[in-house]
Subunit: 413 residues, 2 copies
Amino acid sequence: MSGKAERKSPLAPPDFPELPAIKGLGMAAGDAAIKHAGRNDLAIWTVDSGTSAAGLFTRSMLPAAPVTVTKEHIQAAPPRALLVNSANANAFTGLQGLADCRTIARATAEALGCKPEQVLMASTGVIGEPLPVRQIMDRIPELPKKIRPAAWQDAAEAIMTTDTFAKGAHAHAVIDGQPVTLCGVAKGSGMIAPNMATMLAFCFTDARIPGVQLHEMLLASADRTFNAITVDSDTSTSDMLLLFATGKAGHAPPGSVDDPRFEGFRAALDELLKDLAIQIVRDGEGASKLIETRISGAESDASARKIAESVANSPLVKTAIAGGDANWGRIIMALGKSGENVQAEHLLIRIGGELVASGGQRAENYDESRITRHLEGDEILIEAELQIGSGAFTIWTCDLTHGYISINADYRS
Amino acid sequence: MSGKAERKSPLAPPDFPELPAIKGLGMAAGDAAIKHAGRNDLAIWTVDSGTSAAGLFTRSMLPAAPVTVTKEHIQAAPPRALLVNSANANAFTGLQGLADCRTIARATAEALGCKPEQVLMASTGVIGEPLPVRQIMDRIPELPKKIRPAAWQDAAEAIMTTDTFAKGAHAHAVIDGQPVTLCGVAKGSGMIAPNMATMLAFCFTDARIPGVQLHEMLLASADRTFNAITVDSDTSTSDMLLLFATGKAGHAPPGSVDDPRFEGFRAALDELLKDLAIQIVRDGEGASKLIETRISGAESDASARKIAESVANSPLVKTAIAGGDANWGRIIMALGKSGENVQAEHLLIRIGGELVASGGQRAENYDESRITRHLEGDEILIEAELQIGSGAFTIWTCDLTHGYISINADYRS
């Protein structure tokens, strides 16, 4: 825990937003002394019975213990609580790591009066170090008494590692004339030495949506939000996105996933997840610029996604933008290396809306000074129009700066 | 052309090696004033008639003009010359770029008394800028007079962009009792602002091997050498690896690709390409450490390659090594994100030969100080033994340092 990342990201929003309470939901933070003294490292959310939940988890082949256990629990029983610790990932901790999760789930269930399978868990922090179970267990009995309806900022801060700001967002919809609220918190691409970035996001709504449909909606929304951001192309052992629906809003449940009554809800969920996802990019390690890469006219959406990933993950593109260098040759390189169908003669490339390439060569009226001016800002737009088909995809990333190296290389464990 | 990369890589060999002449081959360098004044930017190699050639080319969907033309020429006729310019890639230059290549091929053919299709070409440097054809054309008539049998260093220096040292290597074999020589030069992952790294390698031998077999041998050798190195996972529009065989060594040609008489030759080719490939990594932008990642016991060689790539391309692994941080959790992360079959309980991870993880958790006698000592050196060895199958693959890369960011971000075009 180096303290290197204490300086707030220049791309941070001014303040943590005011998030409303959600019926059937409470939360609290606690200090198990895993992090620096005086900084909370435990967060709990409790939900009334009748709540459904859906989750998306890291695709890592070596997932952390709480990922394995939470996947199991979310299938086994309707949830009553989510317990999260930061500063230790309980990852690559073998059978002991799994046993530690079960111990904590039992204690939490006991404190709340529910079954252990009703407790979901997440951890983020150091990999390969045994979880300090005793420290966490000592704090569990007191957590239920501390629960309040909207302690969002406390909870968001407790799950931070070296995030430079706490991340929260909310959105609203109307279903059957009933107002519905969605709130969420996230932690992202800060590092906790000696460790990796982990993406955690926990979202809550008072909408009434059974688990199966909730999962489908979450999957669809995540596809173009949380699955459309990248900081350094690395994937944590611990990534987790959970959505809880307490069902208190007083409308009828959806008839199907694409029930038109839930159109507003689906849009609000998109909005919530996009807001949180972009906040994670804004806090990317060393980030000084937010980069939006829009690919259109590709053979398919899947092809557009691969091309967008190729650009957004290219260290040469990301360093050029960090340096404010109108180096569009690197975009050509990244488009070309995608392996996807890209045809030089049809390709249009724009930076900040200015055409830089068309007809297989530099655009006729190319004016580097206009591009350079755009690159001086902190929100950069790269567009490639392939003019082959109608596939489109947008990815958000940040630039690659000395800050990234400092955070990840200069610290010695 | 920033001059930022002038300081020699700390991983550079002390001197350019003494490379012998090869019967039937000559070479020269020239100055077309595309680079800094006084630095050569043209190289020519001429080969006697009877020479065969094989090439491997960038997989970029947007290849540079000389890639397209050289692929065409190498199929059309036996080669007589290779003309290379640095400082302009002739990439994304549309129909004009192709026309420029043909103009240069015609002029070179005229100067040498051969057909235009017998001239192969390569370019490396700025993307999207028209090639200064006139400057190159002006130098072509005088090149034949300058040709000498072993001007290897001159030629190697002429193809450099921001490489910090010229790269050359040689190897030897015996075929049917006849000594056979192999020599090669390469340029690599230096940047020429405002542009990308390009990998060019040109190898020559006096062995007698028809084009078809030569191509197969080159492909096999490149697979575990040039295709087993990575600096930043980006792929240039201009990458090219050529092998010429003048056939002067006086042995009979191979009966087939796997003719046992050519076993020594194939081994020597492996050696030559590995030597050049690792020199490119040693000159990786900002490199302070050479990293060898050995994966063994994987489901298949292909699986081992994907896992090795996941580790070698991970910015978090590369920055940890740059910082001398014994952060093996990042190796776990990189193995896990590969998507390949990796089983925690069977996995053995070693750094510098020291066991750090086994049985799905930190190794019992893990001693960080021993790892830290290894990381203080400049040749780092990461091994992951999966104990699943017999697939194996080794990749070489370099660390990710402030130097990389400085070279690629700090310069403004």
